[in-house]
Symmetry: D2
Subunit: 337 residues, 4 copies
């Protein structure tokens, strides 16, 4: 960490600051230039509060040289993390060159629905099944999901198709209900629900962590770090669009996040083009673009219910549209090297 002092700082002020820093177990290397004094902080600076330091009146500028994340940091763990779920023929890997398509309905609505969707996406090449049992909804008056019953139906669908399942958790108090789930998803709204992240850090399942509505990539990685620092190193990051000012799409899909994150971390990165755009006809071009950008996987909404089917709409694809998307994505994968 480098801290640049303002011009005109007195020797006493500087010494006080250096003592305070040293009391936090970092070594301080003072470099006095002609125009400014620079402090080099050496040692475990991860405990230094950069906001506090930056805000001090005698400080012009503070820069972290080393990123504040450790377990997630590619510098310390150069090899790609590979996440494995499922058994036997249905074993799936994500990361380290292993690409994976996760598909399924927004919400689990009935046994009939989830089984039908699961069968159809499996036939089209999905390797994992997604479906919401606990649904975070902006309004308390909107459908909140089938909850425990929804989890039960997902397990039924897994039994029938073999597809490992991914589903969202909204509270650590529900954790017991998720004991059979393959991958637990943390939604964008809970990306900084730190108490939940710590609990998930103490379980031994892979966690799919979605980027918050307007989270920086560093904040996303620090949230992964909350999970990893408790012992669970199986984290999959998910880019799902960030809030912006235009409204042709629901969010802005930030695809540069994929190669940027791949430089910063060894964790796999999947992309959700369905939630990012909120418009079914945009899912195909964005799924192809995410694949070409190097994503480790995709998570795509597919429905089979008559309201959607009737009107061919919203962000979910029909099974036929999904099959087409999966086929295009696989063509692009086949020429990547």
């Amino acid at each position: 960490m480098i801290a640049v002092l303002k011009n005109g700082v007195t020797k006493t002020q500087r010494d006080n600051l250096v003592h305070w820093l040293e009391s936090q177990n970092v070594k301080v290397h003072v470099s006095e230039g002609e125009m400014q004094t620079v402090l080099g902080l050496i040692g475990d600076t991860s405990k230094i509060d950069i906001d506090l330091l930056s805000g001090l009146d005698i400080i012009s500028n503070v820069t972290r040289i080393s990123e504040p994340f450790k377990s997630a940091n590619r510098r310390f763990h150069p090899d790609d993390t590979v996440i494995e779920v499922g058994q036997g023929e249905s074993k799936v890997k994500i990361g380290g060159g292993n690409f994976c398509i996760i598909a399924g309905p927004c919400s689990v609505e009935s046994e009939e629905q989830i089984l039908a969707v699961a069968r159809s996406v499996k036939a089209s090449g999905a390797q994992m099944l997604r479906g919401g049992a606990f649904k975070p909804r902006t309004s308390p008056y909107d459908f909140q999901g089938l909850r425990a019953e929804g989890l039960h139906l997902l397990l039924e669908a897994r039994k029938e198709t073999g597809l490992p399942i991914v589903t969202e958790i909204m509270s650590a108090s529900h954790l017991e209900l998720f004991s059979e789930v393959d991958i637990i998803q943390v939604g964008a709204r809970n990306m900084q629900n730190f108490e939940l992240l710590k609990e998930l850090g103490r379980c031994d399942k892979p966690i799919l962590l979605k980027r918050g509505m307007s989270a920086t990539l560093k904040e996303l990685l620090m949230s992964a770090e909350y999970i990893m620092s408790e012992g669970n190193e199986q984290v999959i990051l998910c880019e799902r669009g960030i809030r912006s000012y235009d409204n042709y799409t629901r969010n802005v899909l930030d695809l540069a996040a994929v190669p940027v994150l791949q430089g910063l971390t060894h964790l796999p990165i999947v992309v959700d083009p369905s939630h990012a755009t909120g418009v079914s006809r945009l899912v195909r071009p964005m799924a192809c673009a995410a694949t070409a950008a190097g994503a480790d996987g995709l998570i795509i909404e597919v429905h089979n219910d008559p309201v959607h089917a009737l009107c061919d709409g919203a962000q979910s694809l029909t099974p036929e549209q999904f099959a087409e998307v999966a086929s295009r994505v696989n063509e692009i994968r086949s020429i990547m090297h």
Copy 2:
């Protein structure tokens, strides 16, 4: 709710849509114009999923006429909500013309610290004490607060000064520890932690709900609605700055949110100029501006610790600076009518 159909929608498609809407217990009034067909949805449209409807291929546009929030809606509850806490001489009201300054340190650090700050802010005119016991930090390696011990120290400070206390909760599982607290704060990062909001809706304490990092005002009100729809109608909203692209300040303080919210809801609105700007010299002008904009109260960080005092920095004010801010704010209050 008004839904405009696209040109070229067939009668069958339209009838299917109308039947589906009617099956959700709304009446549909079809108005065929020369250029377009408009559906007027009448009845309890709060259950209609506007995202789903908007996304249908046969729909050009959907507009809610009535806001989706009910309990928080000024239209249905025209009188200002007044929140009361504290006992006897220390009784405090917020809302309905009652203005309140809440002050205290970012984190509770020791008995000596919290007592000293509490006494000094009381002397300068603060009516309530804030202080973090559970601290949401971006990094798992940063100080996470004194937790239960911090709550204990806040209660000591209240015993000594009489000031009611406000402090942040991070998980419903900690709720029992908050039984003596006067107002429970929900931080920006948990504004859409819906399971937490529902639990808080079942307790009988006022909740200070901070706006999320990039939440719309409607999302803030829907989160208030989560609390209120469970029975707890004592919610105080807090504007604390939203994420933006410039970095001279930590966030952009959106002061127009104050009069906009006062038009939409009967709930009191307080402003946090300390977190919004992250810079102590900006706290005074922003506190004055918030007061002039009509806020029902302020929440301000004050410290007395030597590191800050040494360097006069960061976002917290010294007790002397706070006294000056409180005095200016009260002058502005005195000429508002």
Copy 3:
């Protein structure tokens, strides 16, 4: 256009509004529902000021049914616009299935430089040459480009290589200097320099119009409309990233803009991954992603100067890196259908 009146609007107020609207040459169809009154405006509503109308106290909501752009609107011009430049062997088409890579240095610096880059990008498959002669710089103290001399050098490079040239204009008063240029570029900062757009609408060269720093897609299309409404229908749109709050990349490349724009307009859309990210190692994945998203072309920065070469940095690619990107992009193009 649909305008929904507020509840409680009197008959006199409504009649006054209807008369005012009719005085602007639109027909008004009044539909009184049980819950609200809806006005359908028929005729040429493009002259109605939607901001003024929306802001009236008696109006709940206004929705344009027809988009306010006409010449750029795919609804009225279903066939893709194809832009042609260059002569003989060097003839280039963009749009309507014709894909084009434009490459060259950020700034034209010397004859030697521009010739060397032009030759190398031509050899790697670029069909057009870009290079800045007039440079918009945030600081008046930064290099402002070689100006007229830069244009002259670009024409030399075209003479030598045959590559048509694209370069940026910053003021209508320079237009005469651009008489030999093939495509005139309007930069992000001038996207709403309406007097410049009108002048460009009166010349007969293709215009490459970059999206403003935080322009909506509708604003981009309305700026194209400024050019087209003066008679020049040869406009190429360019997505180059929008401002956001994170700083791992310079801007956020909004690739969903590509398929969204292709739905709204018949104009070709190219993508600039160099300016969008500001980081050379991100150019390849983003160029591939833009291609897979269906862009009609790419505009890529390539340098050959020793400072860059020395350090392998910044947003420009070396000629070798560009050759690699062009080859990957062409592979993806070859499997698109």
Copy 4:
């Protein structure tokens, strides 16, 4: 300027970089720490391209110690700039403790209108008259202003009332028409129309420079610098709201910009609450808030035309509402010290 090298940079790479920097006339002070090497750049670093330097692969981080603006910089010009316009009794000062209210219609529409508004705002305490003659409109089909005729009518209104006039320019080619205008306004969309700024830097009238839609404060100051570096040091900055994601208001009024700018520059700062919010009922609270935040003036839209009057709407105030706002603002001014 401080540049931190990455770990692992070779001595040759470092020496090459140092030579390149020195060739640009800065002295380089190399400080080798245990963990990193820091280059201190001394001298006129304003010519160093920070984007280029930051992007080099061997650089970890670059920080400007000195701000890149000079003429606008308070460090070099500690005293507030005071702008004076008008003659005799109508002389008006802005800045250095002089507060000024500028009021008038969005567009000049007729002689009758502009005279009526000018008289009424003068009576209520406005010291200057605003009114648009050249109007930047998103759509080419919207009213573009009376142009030269509008300027003529403004001068008539000045002759009658004595109020100095402020009006917007959209192209340097119109400059001759503005010879009698008191203050020339540059709108948000032209904040980075650098060729226009340079031309305005060569005239001797005060320039009111509005912040761009999503400009940083540094970009605003650099645009002021474009004007000032050509010789015209009479620049008034204007905060008018920035683009954001919510739509209850048209923009987000960033009032912290006022005290932040007052720290960075000696130029006066005015606030436009009308364009910022787009809603007339929000003008009063935001005008009061801006005043309490320490703004040097306000620019407020006032209309008297029957369409607005009929419906009491949009962002403009009636003369009566303006009188009320001016009176509240003056009360707040009276207690500021």
